[in-house]
Structures are given as C-alpha cells and as structure tokens.
Symmetry: C2
Subunit: 206 residues, 2 copies
DNA sequence: CAAAGATCGGTAACAGTGTTACCGACAAGA
DNA sequence: TCTTGTCGGTAACACTGTTACCGATCTTTG
C-alpha cells in the first residue's frame, strides 16, 4: 500500500542517504575520524543537520553505516584473494591482504576495531556482519584442515588465534608503536609462528 | 634561588596535582574514560577548571599523566611476577600477568593502547616510558635465550611477536569481540603457539 | 476544487565539551 | 607603602550532538 509518490520519495531518500554516506566516507579517509561531525557532513553535502537525523537517526546510525562499509570493503578485499596454490598459501595470502587493507585505509580500521568513533557501540546487524567477515578466515583455515595442511585443532580455534595475532600486529602498526622498516617480514613471521604448531609435514614442505 | 615560600607553594601545588590526579584515576576506573572531563574532575576536587590548566596544561597533560600511571601500574604488576622455575616459565607468567592486569583495569588499557582519550597523542616521555615497560618483556625473552630455552632469533624480535599477539588477544577480549568462556586457555595457547618455533628441546620438556 | 491533516526539513536553541580572556586577591621586591 | 607579578575564579567563545519550533509541501478528505 504505497503510492508512486511515496515510492519515489523513498527512492529519493535512498539517494540522499547514499550521498551523505559518500561524503562521510570521503571525510573519514581524507581527514580522519575527528572530522566526522554532523555539522561538517551536513555542510559538505549542503543540507541541514536535521536530514542526517531523519535518515540515520543520529550520529550512531551514521557510525554504524560506516562500520558496515568498512567490513564490506574488507570482505571484498578478502574475496579478491586468488586461490592459486594450496589452501595454506591462500590462507597466508588472506592474512597478508588483511594487513594490506588495514594499512591502506587505516581510518576504516580505526573505526571498526579501535573505537575511533567515541560513544558508538556496534549494534546487532553490525556484529552479525563482523562475524560473517571473520567467517571467511575460519573457512580458509577449514580448507587447510581438510587438505591436511593443518591439523591439531578445530578451524574456529585456529582462526581465533590468527585473528588475535593479526589484529594485534595491525593495530600496533597503525598506531605506529613500532618504528622499524621491515614490518612486513615480521608480520609474516608472526603468522607462520602462530600456525607452526598446527602444520603437518605436508604443509611445511610448501 | 628560591624562597621558602616559593618552595612551600610548589610543594602545595604538588599536593594539589596529586589530588587532582587521584580524582581522575578514580573517575577513570569507576565511570570509564567518558567521565574524564575537565569540569567533572574540577567539581570532584572542588576547584575551578583553571587549576587543571595551570597544573597540567590542559586535558592532554592530564591524559599523559594517566597514561604514565597506567604504565607504572603495568610495570609494578610485571615486576611482581615471581621467578621460581626457569626463565621460560617466568616469561609465560609475565604474559599471563599482562592479561590479568589488562582485564582487571580495562579502562587503563583502553587509555594506554586503544586511544580511549580522543585527541591525545603520546608525547616523548610517555613513549620512553612505554618502551621501558616493553623492555621488561624483551629482558624476559633474553633470559630464555641465554638459558637455551629459546633460540632462533634475537630477543627484540621474539618480544615483538609476543607483544603483537598478546596485545591483539587482550584488546579483542576487552572489546568483547569473542564471547566464549574459556578465553584463558586460548590465551595460553596463543602464547605457546607464537613461541613454539623458537623452543629448543630443552624448553619443550618443561 | 478548496480545506484539513501530516510529514519533511531549515533555523535556532539547549546542554555538553575544551579552552581562554578578563579581573580581583594575594605575596615579593623596591 | 607602592608597584609588580603570579595564581585562580567567573564568564565567555567555539565547538560538539541533539531537538523544539515552525513554515512549506504533499496527501487526504468534504
């Protein structure tokens, strides 16, 4: 029960919503999370702050939209990882892609994992999305288990270990806690170290 | 060249400074980083906001004081780790103490490593303090290398790996990204996994 | 077709935040 | 004693997220 006008209006609102979100994304990437104020975004798209409140329900809604966008980008990046070679090679490539993505757009990583948007707490849909993205890592580990290149624990367990280590490495690197140049080799070393106890003779040969 | 009055005044300022810092610490632990506003702290100790600016030079100065306090607490905790057993046992105990401390006072950990105080960037002294605390971990690893319980890399390199993994585990656990109960065992598993590639036969026997 | 009702959005305000200009009170030095 | 200077309280400024008001526009009704 909706007139064509209502439908058009709703579509128009979707366009406006997308435009606002686009402005917010540019602001986040170009000037960092501190620039993400309601007034600034409104002035960027040339509307009043009220529009953001009716379309996003406040800054938290906008924060959640950016959160989801960040995970969507990460997911796209992980899906782009080629699957030449064995499952273990692919898993390592996924871990490398995770770091590359975080370093390429660190402010998204700050929004997703470092609480860069003060006061924002992820809602239900956001958490489901995060778990789905993390599931790609679990699947990568499961493939290695099936192929016999890893063994000794369940896939979620190993994926948890990888997730923790990888997150620690990336977040410290983003915060520039370390200052050495060869961070990439150290990252690879961390990943292989975590996986070593689960490597079979088959896997080690690779 | 200072009159007794000036000295007394300076000591009095030190007392006031300590009082304000105490109020800030209580506020941080009891109500979290969001409650740390200049006006709130001033009203807590019953003075004007101006005092905080003259004694700390703004909120950043107070943030840095809290940061230093957090590292001091962590350092005390790490120094309390008993040294019964071999160096590797002690290293593992230090890693466990690191997590215990972070989980016991998570808001301090948020201040130190998760940027809970928006806009605050660690200064020179703060970074030196952080490096000194991290040096305790390096020393723990070095002891293992000397005792022959670890081998295969330099102490700072292994300590970096441990630091990244441990930080990732703790920060994800604080953010309650995982929801399982047995996080302690998983943490131990992560630590041993990272160390496995560097364990000698001697170390493995323990 | 005109009038009543509803929804959207712009203006301007409110309650917060960090920060500072002003100004009175007090002690040090001439 | 009088000037000088420092310290601190008051009140403001610029900024934040958020919302009450109110005019404009569209839908529905008589």
């Amino acid at each position: 029960m909706s007139t064509p006008y209502q439908q058009a209006q709703r579509e128009g609102q979707d366009v406006v919503r997308a435009t606002i979100l686009e402005a917010a994304k540019n602001l986040l990437i170009n000037e960092g999370p501190a620039a993400l104020t309601v007034r600034r975004i409104a002035s960027e798209v040339g509307c009043s702050t009220k529009v953001i409140y009716t379309l996003f329900g406040g800054k938290d809604g906008l924060s959640e939209a950016l959160w989801l966008e960040g995970f969507a980008r990460l997911e796209r990046r992980l899906l782009d990882v080629p699957s030449d070679g064995g499952p273990l090679d692919r898993l390592m490539a996924m871990l490398a892609a995770y770091r590359d993505h975080a370093l390429a757009e660190p402010d998204y990583y700050r929004v997703m994992f470092l609480g860069a948007l003060p006061g924002f707490k992820a809602g239900e849909e956001a958490i489901r999305t995060a778990k789905r993205t993390f599931g790609m890592l679990v699947a990568g580990v499961a493939a290695c288990l099936e192929a016999g290149e890893l063994a000794g624990a369940e896939a979620p367990e190993i994926a948890d270990l990888l997730g923790m280590a990888v997150h620690g490495a990336v977040s410290l690197e983003i915060s520039s806690y370390f200052e050495e140049a060869d961070t990439s080799a150290r990252y690879r070393l961390l990943c292989t170290s975590v996986l070593t106890p689960f490597m079979t003779r088959d896997g080690r040969r690779t």
